[in-house]
């Protein structure tokens, strides 16, 4: 709880400390959007033990739902936001139901294929999506005629991140979370105690798709322009990397990973041609020395320094 308050306070005062610098604010917005998606992925990986290579597609479903409904049909942004959630949930159910009954990595392969299919659809359904050249003119969000820009949008994004974090923590510390942990601990015993493992895996997959869709809708309204390249396999892999780098053991790891991997490319930009090289080297170093993620690594170093003193 203290950490949540600290995050809220940090996000609250940050814009004012930096003179409401647009660049810093947009970095924090992207961090929040990525964090929203990785929270869901962390539930899926850390608690349901499944890997998704298709979350960029759910992010895209949210973004295009918002973009298409507001630009092509002139509907209110809230309609796009809600439609994206319902669509992502329905699609996640259809993809998850057959694959999550199987043990092993079928889920990873199925979501990989699903992501590619949606990527093609975003490109080819050009009468709706604008095709490869993208969809522009997506309106900025507004409340009562006042546009939600800059600091106000930042607060909206991080307000939602905190709500989703609280929701996720509640789920983990409940009957459902216990069932998921039991499946992780011993699927054999969980079944013998009456836990329907595939049912909970499908539910968590749907939940994670909904988080990604929310992120996508906010993204579309923030940058006002979307094109398929933002929703490719590369982004799915980046999201997965965020969760792994931060640590799959807890939800905090997912948020930390999202923050680190959103900021890292910005700091490496000065290296120009060597940017990708340095990025790869840093990721490998982290995973070699902190296989359970940065959060765990920091804990270990902290424990070690306490013992030394």
């Amino acid at each position: 709880m203290h950490i949540i308050l600290a995050i809220a306070l940090g996000i609250g005062v940050f814009p004012w400390l930096t003179g409401r610098n647009e660049y810093f604010i947009s970095l924090l917005v992207f961090m929040g959007i990525n964090g929203m998606i990785t929270l869901g992925l962390s539930l899926l990986m850390g608690y349901a033990g499944q890997i998704s290579l298709g979350h960029a597609a759910f992010f895209g479903l949210g973004a295009y739902s918002s973009g298409v409904l507001t630009v092509q049909y002139g509907l209110a942004p809230i309609a796009g936001f809600v439609f994206g959630i319902l669509l992502s949930a329905a699609v996640a159910y259809l993809v998850g139901k057959p694959t999550l009954r199987l043990k092993g990595h079928y889920m990873a392969v199925a979501t990989l294929g699903f992501g590619e299919i949606l990527f093609i659809l975003f490109n080819e359904l050009s009468f709706l999506t604008g095709g490869p050249s993208g969809l522009s003119g997506i309106p900025t969000l507004a409340v009562g005629g006042l546009p939600l820009e800059g600091t106000a949008f930042l607060y909206l994004v991080w307000g939602l991140v905190i709500l989703l974090l609280l929701f996720s923590l509640n789920v983990i510390n409940s009957r459902v979370g216990r069932a998921l942990r039991a499946v992780h601990g011993s699927e054999l015993a969980a079944g013998a105690m009456g836990v329907d493992a595939s049912r909970y895996k499908v539910q968590v997959f749907i939940l994670s798709a909904v988080y990604a869709s929310m992120g996508g809708s906010l993204y579309a309204h923030f940058i006002n322009f979307i094109s398929p390249s933002s929703f490719s396999l590369m982004f799915s892999i980046l999201l997965l990397m965020m969760v792994v780098v931060g640590g799959t053991e807890t939800l905090w790891g997912a948020l930390l990973g999202a923050a680190v991997l959103t900021l890292l490319p910005e700091y490496l930009r000065g290296l120009e041609d060597f940017e990708t090289l340095a990025y790869g080297a840093i990721l490998m170093t982290v995973l070699l020395f902190m296989p359970k993620g940065i959060l765990e690594g920091v804990h270990r170093v902290w424990a070690w320094s306490q013992r030394g003193s």
């Binding site: 409940s174 459902v176 054999l188 105690m193 968590v204």
Partner: protein, 258 residues
């Protein structure tokens, strides 16, 4: 013998070329403690895995209180009121002692992902009830002082008891115990036999797989002897101890080792 809670007819399970269970027919009557004995590899644990739906039989049919169990998944069978422990412990090592037992109450609660995520009013009450029930079962097994510890940090004997507490928290009508006395000392085994009798006194029918003959002969109403997946004898403990085929196949061998 027609009024069995559990009725098993002509059960067969073949793994590759091995007939683990071969044409087995037997009943377990309500309120009984029935034991299954036999040398290692006789098919005892296979029998438990078949009853609880871990894998399907090659042939044969099971009925529990008139309902056919064939084709049901483990979690569905658990919901009918059949619970079990495992020969090789299957505790949730990532959870506390209390949480392990609380999981046993899974089917008696209903909170879904939304009720849980939004902490809706019904949920807190449900959590409290499930916690109380779990504490009752820990108390019944004498483990109430261990509630907050990590499940796999307990000594082996207590882990065995914890598995029984978890199984009891499902409020079963029928309990399968897979070698509960393995690894226990004489005093612990004596306590265990009292516990199993107390479980029966709660109206729970017990099917027991066990190697400890004094435990089996001391508390069983009926004993079923398996050898190479086949039934070689079935009856009251006294009859079994005198059955020449059993002595040859099992007890004789055991005496030979001793």
């Amino acid at each position: 013998m027609g009024s069995g809670v559990l009725q098993i007819q002509d059960l067969q399970k073949i793994f590759g070329g091995l007939r683990a269970i071969d044409g087995l027919t037997f009943n377990v009557c309500e309120g009984q403690i029935k034991s299954v004995i036999g040398p290692n590899g006789a098919g005892k644990t296979t029998l438990f895995n078949l009853i609880t739906g871990v894998f399907p039989p090659t042939r044969g049919r099971f009925e529990f209180m008139g309902m056919v169990l064939n084709g049901r998944k483990p979690h569905e069978i658990a919901r009918l009121g059949i619970s079990r422990t495992f020969q090789n412990l299957e505790l949730f090592g990532n959870m506390s002692v209390l949480e392990n037992v609380m999981l046993g109450g899974h089917n008696h609660t209903s909170a879904g992902i939304f009720t849980a995520g939004f902490r809706l009013p019904g949920m807190r009450q449900e959590e409290r009830q499930i916690r109380e029930k779990a504490m009752e079962e820990l108390h019944f097994m004498g483990l109430e002082g261990k509630a907050p510890l990590g499940a796999t940090s307990l000594p082996l004997g207590e882990q065995k008891l914890l598995e029984i507490a978890r199984a009891l928290a499902t409020r079963p009508k029928f309990l399968l115990l897979d070698e509960p006395a393995a690894g226990l000392n004489i005093r612990e085994t004596e306590t265990l036999s009292q516990t199993i009798l107390a479980i029966r006194a709660r109206g729970i029918t017990v099917l027991l797989v066990e190697h400890d003959m004094s435990l089996v002969m001391g508390i069983s109403d009926e004993v079923l002897v398996l050898n190479y997946g086949r039934k070689i004898a079935e009856g009251a403990p006294r009859e079994i101890q005198r059955n020449p085929e059993v002595i040859a196949a099992y007890l004789g061998e055991e005496n030979g080792h001793a």
